[in-house]
Subunit: 455 residues, 2 copies
């Protein structure tokens, strides 16, 4: 590809790329968007930019929440969306090989026809791309069952800053020959190389899905219920989500057509459990037996099992509707934290004490993964509220050895906050690896690593 | 710790460390074995050795098969076996944190009392250590169910060559804050740092285990059976192992007390399927229904379901007895290969054609993971036979994008064979990362990476 050809778009109006985060905070003014159609073109672009020290922003579906895929100044955008071919699928092993620009939902549809599923599923599946998913180590709804992309990605191809192509596109479940370098590119947000192809292990589609919506008296019961669910249904458990009374109240008051599946009064906590297995009757009986014993043991105060797909969707609508309800309720401060499960909700309680009547504190998320979405809702944005929240929330998380970004990444927004979750020696080593693989610092500058490392 | 104290053993007779591989091929003559009792001591040792350019061999249980944990010349051995404390266990999340020297079997026993299991299990569990397991990315019998250590290890602490301690000992399932550097230390065989502590996600122990021993007419039926098993019992499948008629014949003829659970005549292939779930009756019914439909569909020629734990053990004894039977049968050339499942057995057929009557070619292994243990059995070791096997077997594997070391690592034995499975650009990048993290090359020299990189 030569510059100036079809794949280079020079209409400046189209280049002011804005990402879809909650505050529309990130807006660059790149003058050049490149859409390579092959690995070789990506290699040529990077080789050219590297030799001239031109900064580059790798971009997939641009659905990230921390400004990782948006130019900060006038970086060249390299969008891999045109590289969207499925290269191969092995129906015996379930191994899919495809280009980085494949949209997640398209892969899900393709696999559905083959009787398989993707090991990850996200709200943004309609526009996010697999290369971006891998580059940000996207989490999502199926992690509790299938684990992270570090376990599911079997291989990848990446182009380094200097244009060298690393072919690590293995399709093997086991390969202990040398350092497993692909992991460097999983979750490094395009700052070490551009992922161009991915090989991923996909699980077979199982036919039987059951969903229960439950109420618990306190957080301790939610925790015990999680332990019991893992023990008694570990092999079929595919989601264990929770929301607190504040989240439930917001959903019921702000979303049209949503009703509480459980009769009044309101409970302090609600839990959504999903099971996925191969046999409808056995799996349902297993879930029913589990619910019965949990009810008898006092872990559940009330609960209902979805009778059909519509009711199942209505349960998911409650859990997935929390962010939308928060948006409608006013200003919202959002935090995506990993914490040890047993201490997770203490932060919500502490934050309530701290903020008093000035704001509502809402806790919900992927309890099965120890991932809390902490949200603070207020009538309008107010620096005084923000000062009450930050850096307190980061310090609290750090003190309990949590992660200040469970699944969203650091991007531009949190690059300088990395020390809350990583030790200075570890960050220093990250910096030296960045310097090794991208000595001119052209790949996604100002992102992921703290600015202090540059000096 | 000061040198010369208790933790330094200077009895030279004890230092001629021999590993337990099949040919007792690797034997160094180290004059110094150090047994640090803490991370700080490991850091002091490495800092001292690095400043004086003294080479070091990190060592765990010393059970590897490729000479990775044995000194080649007079390297200082740093054995972490005295660092064997369990630091914490969280019964809600199942997250175990322990020191690197913990013996795998001791961890298994500890977890058993808590109602959990380790996500990996190996024949060498009685002496191998978790630090060594992580450093070699050990595979084993449970990988088909729980995946690799890249997915299960949540964090680790490692000491770099210069003595810097990297604290990456997170206990979180999700943490997207910067590069996930722990993966560099998983499977790099102690050549980038010494793993001193490990945090690992352990699954709950499930009560119901069922085992079936089956016969198939041809390899194609084994493959189809695997596909069906994943689809119909994916959530409870915990092992899918196979052995061919040659392996079965060796076991029956060389191991005392082993008998064929299926009536004569012999079949071309045998498959062992294990399921693990939470409910005895449901799981057994699921397996029985699967076996019935597979029998009706012609995928299975014959089969038997273990009626009790003794019969279950006798089935495992057949599969696990293959290496011992091979040893008793004479000389044996062993290869641990990953290959695309659909082509895997073609190599066994090709090798038979190639070797003719000069040797017996035996194929068995973890079919569910695409991991073939190819063994050639001959009356005695013979260079002519070896010349027929190598480099043919490596070239064949390379041509089909397989791995020449699925789970054993490269160590000393295969360091120079890395290019059969990894591209030159990738190996070059491995070399630059080695140089970055261990500029004096003190950590496990002559291992993992090819000698050509040193020049």
């Amino acid at each position: 590809m030569r510059f100036g050809e079809k794949s280079v778009i020079q209409d400046e109006d189209r280049l002011e790329t804005v990402n879809t985060d909650w505050m529309h905070k990130y807006r660059g003014s790149s003058k050049l968007l490149l859409q390579p159609r092959s690995t070789e073109e990506v290699a040529q672009i990077l080789n050219y930019c590297n030799s001239r020290c031109l900064a580059v922003v790798p971009q997939g579906g641009n659905t990230g929440l921390v400004g990782g895929s948006v130019p900060v100044f006038d970086e060249v955008i390299v969008n891999v969306g045109s590289m969207n071919n499925i290269i191969s699928f092995d129906t015996v092993s379930g191994i899919l090989v495809c280009e980085a620009g494949c949209i997640l939902e398209n892969l899900i549809s393709f696999l559905d026809n083959q009787g398989f599923i993707m090991p990850l599923d996200l709200g943004a599946k309609g526009s996010c791309q697999i290369g971006g998913n891998v580059s940000t180590n996207a989490g999502g709804l199926r992690l509790v069952r299938y684990g992270s992309l570090h376990g599911n990605v079997l291989g990848l191809e990446a182009v380094l800053a200097n244009g060298d192509v690393l072919d690590m596109l293995g399709t093997l479940r086991k390969d202990n020959t040398g350092y497993d370098l692909k992991h460097l590119f999983i979750g490094s947000e395009g700052s070490l190389g551009i992922v161009t192809k991915v090989s991923i292990l996909t699980p077979p589609k199982l036919s039987s899905v059951n969903i229960a919506f439950l109420a618990c008296r306190d957080y301790s019961s939610c925790q015990k219920l999680l332990m019991e669910a893992k023990r008694k249904m570990g092999e079929i458990l595919s989601a264990f989500e929770f929301l607190d009374i504040e989240a439930m109240d917001l959903v019921l008051n702000h979303l049209d057509g949503v009703r509480n599946p459980l009769p009044a009064p309101m409970h302090n906590f609600y839990v959504l459990i999903e099971t996925t297995g191969s046999d409808e009757s056995y799996d349902r009986e297993k879930l029913e037996a589990f619910l019965l014993s949990s009810m008898e043991g006092g872990l559940i105060s009330d609960g209902v099992l979805a009778q059909d797909i519509n009711q199942a969707s209505s349960f998911w609508r409650i859990r997935e509707g929390v962010p939308e309800a928060l948006m409608k309720a006013g200003a919202v401060y959002k935090y995506d934290l990993s914490l040890p499960v047993e201490r997770m909700y203490d932060l919500v309680d502490d934050m309530r004490t701290r903020l008093g009547d000035s704001a509502r504190v809402v806790g919900y998320g992927h309890l099965g993964d120890g991932n809390l979405h902490l949200n603070v809702s207020a009538p309008q944005y107010d620096d005084k509220i923000l000062e009450q929240i930050e850096p307190y929330v980061y310090e609290w998380t750090s003190k309990h050895r949590g992660s200040i970004s469970a699944e969203h990444g650091l991007g531009l927004m949190k690059a300088n906050k990395i020390y809350y979750s990583k030790s200075p020696e570890t960050v220093k080593t990250m910096g030296s690896i960045k310097k090794l693989l991208d000595p001119n610092g052209i790949l996604n500058p100002y992102k992921v690593l703290p600015h202090s490392l540059d000096s």
